[in-house]
């Protein structure tokens, strides 16, 4: 067996709250292990080399969406990225478009909450009261699967970081926002109609701001069908508004 590869991990270091801190790239050499992910590499760096290195991991299984970052320029989840799939030089930058907390840690949580509030991204039930002791309303099994397909978004922020439009226009809702609207508009339990959704995304910060660069679709770690969904939403919103 050949000797383990040594990889160079270049990490952006910066604490915006510290006036003395200047953004800089710091390099760490790591010996690659079998099955090593960026989660394992960064944890090793922190435990053995640099305890001050800030980054966010929670589930480390590609489920929670905490650890999105730019890996050699591409937004992706660090936890399920295997180092063997990357060149020996790996540059890690914090996800752009979100407030930097420190190093690789960004505040996606507040951004996503503000988005949800702005888009009223929750199910607006038809009845204000549900009698939960009664048998539930039936739903077409295929429709339930289709809703789940869009419900799989983990709000990791990769689509926002990959989106040229979002990078230029801070108020653009991004694929994450458009997908949420598509998800609720598909759901017969939601009382809102296209007119209501038009109120939320029928402008240039919403679906008409999308310039179809489709990087969102290409980087989505959950492989959500964003290309089709945004087109679908655009058609419906064009009808609702025009």
């Amino acid at each position: 067996m050949s000797a383990a590869r040594r990889i160079q991990v270049h990490v952006l270091r910066h604490n915006p709250r510290d006036p003395a801190s200047e953004p800089r790239l710091q390099s760490y050499e790591v010996e690659e292990a079998a099955g090593m992910t960026l989660f394992l590499a960064l944890t090793e760096i922190r435990e053995r080399r640099d305890p001050s290195l800030a980054f966010d991991f929670v589930c480390r299984a590609g489920i929670c969406g905490s650890c999105a970052m730019l890996v050699n320029g591409r937004p992706r989840l660090a936890c399920n990225t295997l180092t063997k799939d990357l060149p020996a030089d790996i540059t890690l930058l914090p996800l752009p478009g979100f407030e930097l907390i420190a190093d690789l840690s960004v505040d996606t949580g507040r951004w996503m909450r503000a988005l949800s509030e702005r888009l009223q991204a929750w199910l607006h039930a038809r009845e204000t009261e549900v009698d939960a002791a009664r048998i539930e309303e039936p739903m077409d099994p295929d429709l339930a699967d289709r809703i789940y397909e869009l419900d799989r978004c983990i709000e990791c922020g990769c689509c926002v970081a990959a989106c040229g439009t979002a990078q230029m226009r801070a108020d653009f809702v991004g694929a994450v926002g458009l997908n949420k609207i598509a998800r609720f508009s598909l759901d017969p339990r939601d009382a809102r109609g296209d007119g209501d959704f038009y109120e939320l995304v029928g402008d240039d910060d919403g679906v008409f701001g999308c310039m179809t660069l489709l990087a969102c679709h290409d980087v989505c770690p959950k492989q959500l069908p964003l290309q089709n969904q945004i087109a679908f939403l655009r058609r419906r919103m064009a009808r609702a508004g025009g």
């Binding site: 929670c64 505040d107 939960a132 077409d140 609720f184």
Partner: protein
């Protein structure tokens, strides 16, 4: 010093915490949720396979009801559970799952007509009923007699967390993200908030509340290999322990999930086996029927994990550079099924193992998964010893799970306990006992204590590394407090942990800035985690029997005569190096289902002296009321319904079971 006031402070932004907050908000009270991470990133999202609720829509679930769910859960718990709490839970679970359906969870639905499923390795055609078409579907899970697990493909926790998280936003529940509670503020046996550290700025803030709810999840990170997220460090339990008043129940009851992927420990759902997946050894042999002819791969998790570990010990594990493991074979389920119902599993296999589970077997090994123990509470969720402190979900020992939790019961517990405890918290706040009269000096003192502790760490000239201690702690727990336990191993673990606790008082951090300082966080957390680890190890060492997930090789029998009781751990003084253990008896005479054989696993156990009498009593009553309604029989055996909040007492409707 900043003080934040609210009616209710919820520590933890997962499913249980959010559901409590929504509940009290709807009662017109203010609730603030503290969360280490954005709430939708909580570990609840990692629950894959589903949530148990006895709806009985799927044909293989027909005939299911609260009684069957109750018995399965009690048997699963190895009679460690509080049976009244189990009753409250099984009664509320169908309501909770239906409420979630109304909140938008895209539950997988029943499709009418024939479909092929794999049962016991055989392809079988089952026919779903017309009248069930479009209702919530159920899949099979371990330790259950009916298909009861409601699911959303294999992203159930994610879909639930998003629906509940969205409702919290809709209700305007404020979530204070990246905030960590360092201690509970209490005086005169009354908890009234927490000292909280802002993980971004390092600022300490006093949070004052009439009721404080701990919903911080489990403690998997006390172990080296766990399915748990990196934030599941048992800090909620530690907060309670450090009050010196609140107790932790059954901390030695730690569940190991049979199918963590090897070696990373990432979970693949029990749904794999529920849907027909098989466990195989190095030779490809399906070994579980040899050990467990009744339930095979679908015995309860403690039993399956133990059998797997036993099989590996017997030299039959597949060898790899990381050590021996076994195989989970889901290839027989077919690609279409995997793509629709096990897609997270598929993604995990592709990302982390580089394999296609429709073609190849998955390397698995039992991994720490769940903490049955936690903050000991009454059925209301309130601590039995510290007023105003509540706990819900995995952080609590409510005690729904006893010594072993059934798959699908934890994600159900989060929302069920969240719903029930939320009501009791609101009742508490609305009643006179909910009032607090607190001098701010108390908050100032509590903050000062934490400030001093942090400053001491930042200024320490000690020589110990927080990360090194953490790794050693995880190793000690893995070596001594694992699936198989014995006196020697446990004594060694206790000794190692106690030494580590002493060493942890000399931790120095290299990075001396406050603010976003991960090393400082590790340092103060590991000091707390060690206390929880000691509560587990000491509880395990003291319990001279085997029950559920707690298996003593030197005491392999369940011993109801001596050990039908709950372990209670407290940490009396800050200077102590070991917890104080106490016991709470479980009353056989109050049981609806007296102790017996679980229906799987060992048949060899020692009865409690009251068991025979109670069993006869129960049987006599059942015989007498043979013609009666099952609810009346139940009420005569063990009344519980009035314990539930009034709005949860209604009987659940379900489809008629086919004759």
């Amino acid at each position: 010093m900043k003080i934040v006031y609210s009616d209710v402070l919820v520590i933890g932004g997962g499913l249980a915490g959010l559901r409590v907050a929504i509940g009290v908000r709807r009662r017109g009270l203010d609730a603030i949720v503290l969360s280490l991470v954005p709430p939708k990133r909580s570990h609840s999202a990692a629950a894959q396979g589903g949530m148990q609720a006895s709806l009985g829509n799927a044909i293989k679930g027909a005939g299911d009801n609260e009684d069957v769910h109750f018995e399965d859960t009690v048997r699963g718990s190895d009679w460690g559970a509080d049976q009244r709490v189990v009753r409250m839970f099984v009664e509320t679970a169908p309501k909770a799952v239906r409420e979630l359906a109304a909140w938008g969870v895209p539950w997988t639905r029943v499709r009418r007509g024939d479909r092929e499923v794999i049962i016991n390795g055989q392809r079988v055609t089952i026919t779903e009923r017309d009248e069930a078409h479009g209702l919530l579907a159920q899949r099979d899970f371990g330790g259950t007699r009916k298909w009861r697990t409601c699911y959303v493909s294999d992203g159930t926790g994610h879909a639930m967390l998003y629906a509940v998280g969205d409702q919290a936003i809709a209700q305007g529940v404020p979530v204070h993200e990246r905030k960590e509670a360092l201690s509970l503020i209490h005086e005169g046996g009354r908890c009234c908030g927490a000292v909280v550290r802002d993980l971004v700025t390092g600022e300490l803030i006093g949070y004052l509340a009439r009721a404080t709810v701990v919903a911080t999840g489990g403690a998997g990170r006390l172990y080296r290999v766990t399915t748990n997220a990196v934030i599941c460090e048992g800090i909620g339990a530690a907060l309670a322990l450090e009050t010196g008043i609140a107790t932790l129940g059954n901390m030695e009851a730690v569940q190991f999930h049979p199918t963590g992927i090897f070696p990373a420990g990432i979970l693949v759902t029990e749904g794999c086996r529920g849907d027909g997946g098989l466990l195989r050894d190095a030779t490809g042999h399906r070994f579980m029927p040899d050990y467990e002819p009744e339930k095979k791969e679908l015995a309860s998790r403690d039993v399956v994990s133990r059998r797997m570990a036993e099989h590996i010990r017997g030299g039959l594990g597949a060898q790899s550079r990381f050590g021996p493991h076994l195989w989970l074979d889901i290839t027989l389920l077919g690609r279409a099924h995997i793509d629709r119902n096990l897609r997270e599993v598929k993604e995990i296999c592709q990302s982390f193992l580089g394999i296609d589970p429709a073609e190849q077997w998955i390397p698995v090994h039992p991994a720490q998964h769940y903490t049955m123990g936690g903050i000991r509470t009454r059925h209301t969720g309130e601590s039995t010893t510290l007023r105003g402190l509540f706990a819900a979900g995995e952080a609590a020992c409510w005690d729904l799970h006893g010594f072993n939790r059934l798959g699908g019961n934890s994600v159900a517990e989060t929302v069920v306990a969240g719903t029930i405890v939320g009501e009791f918290v609101a009742d508490f706040c609305e009643s006179g006992v909910g009032d607090i009269d607190l001098p701010t000096a108390l908050v100032r003192d509590a903050v000062a204590v934490q400030r001093a502790a942090l400053d001491a760490l930042l200024a320490s000239r000690g020589t110990e590394s927080a990360d090194a201690i953490r790794v050693e702690m995880q190793q000690a727990m893995t070596d001594g407090v694992g699936i198989f336990r014995d006196a020697a191993g446990l004594e060694s673990a206790v000794g190692r942990l106690e030494a580590l606790l002493l060493r942890s008082r000399s931790i120095a951090v290299r990075e001396r800035a406050d603010g976003p300082n991960p090393e400082l966080v590790t340092a103060y957390r590991v000091q707390r985690m060690l206390k929880v680890a000691l509560a587990m190890a000491c509880g395990a060492l003291a319990r001279l029997e085997s029950r559920g997930a707690h298996f003593r090789e030197d005491f392999p029998r369940r011993d109801d005569a001596n050990w039908l009781k709950r372990t209670l751990a407290t940490w009396r003084n800050a200077a102590d190096t070991l917890p104080t253990l106490d016991y709470e008896p479980i009353d056989v005479d109050a049981m609806e289902l007296p102790p017996g054989w679980r229906g799987y696993g060992a048949r060899d156990y020692r009865d409690h002296p009251d068991t025979a009498r109670r069993t006869a009593e129960v049987q006599a009553l059942r015989d007498r009321m043979q013609a009666g309604d099952r609810r009346e029989v139940q009420a005569a055996l063990m009344p519980y319904r009035e314990l539930l909040p009034a709005r949860l007492q209604a009987s659940n409707d379900r489809l008629e079971a086919p004759a």
